[in-house]
Amino acid sequence: MPSNQDAPLKTYLDHLARGELAYQFSPEAGRAVFYPRMLCPFTGSDRLEWRISKGLGTVYATTVVHPTEGMPFNVALIDCDEGFRLMSRVEDIAPEQVRIGQRVRFRVHQPVGEEPPQPVFVPVEGA
């Protein structure tokens, strides 16, 4: 019996805990795959390589959530330069100041308590 494979989520979070934004690459499809999975959605192949993003991307879509309690916050979709898109938020500027097309850089947000780290983004200076 082959040993059980690691869950894609675990590998992803292990990288994040080391400050890395990991994604999968499908050699057969020649393109990035995100969110992490067991099979490539473009070819059906189970041969997926883990790669580390350089952490640079562009805002694809943006919105602001106004919670019943607490401050409004940003929710955005980010297109990373390696060709994958993820949900995240842009920090360090007012949530309504986030613009589609804006260049952003990844950083890790570590929530207090037991929650796993999160990939968030900040504006690239001078971009």
Binding site: L9, L13, Y35, Y60, A61, T62, T63, V65, P67, F73, V75, A76, L77, L86, M87, S88, R89, E96, I100, G101, P111, E115, P116, Q118
Partner: protein, 168 residues
Amino acid sequence: MDGLKRGSAAIVGVAESDLGEVADGMSVIDLMAQGAKRALDDCGLSLKDVDGLFSATTQSRLSVLALAEYLGVNPSFLGSTIVGGSSFEYHVAHAMGAIGLGLCNVAVIAYGSTQRSVGRKQASVREVNPYETPFKPFLPASAYALAASRHIHEFELPSRWQRANGRC
């Protein structure tokens, strides 16, 4: 494959359950049953004619079985496909296919919800997506907002809308 034939089945009865703030203690199955009875009345059929049954809701785990038991029917064909708001279009297509194959003759498609009374949190189980839930999108509104922001960006919606929303 012949596919579904246009006109091979017909929607003959349509009705609504009580709407808005319904009576205290009303369940989703109560409302489905009420709507089903009214739809059967609408076309002059009765429960004894029903041999196909479909339902979808987030508030009952095995809703079509609960509904069949509640109505006292024993359908030869049933379905509980859940794909959100379009569940019932699927049910119509599945009913049409089943009627075409002779698997049933009269299908009831039912929906009920008490979300207005019990609130969002009680009406559906919280579902965690580890890649999205941490960013706390207010769903489904935030999903539509993200799509809208992109649409406005790509198709340059009229400036009137943008002015109204402080975009210029």
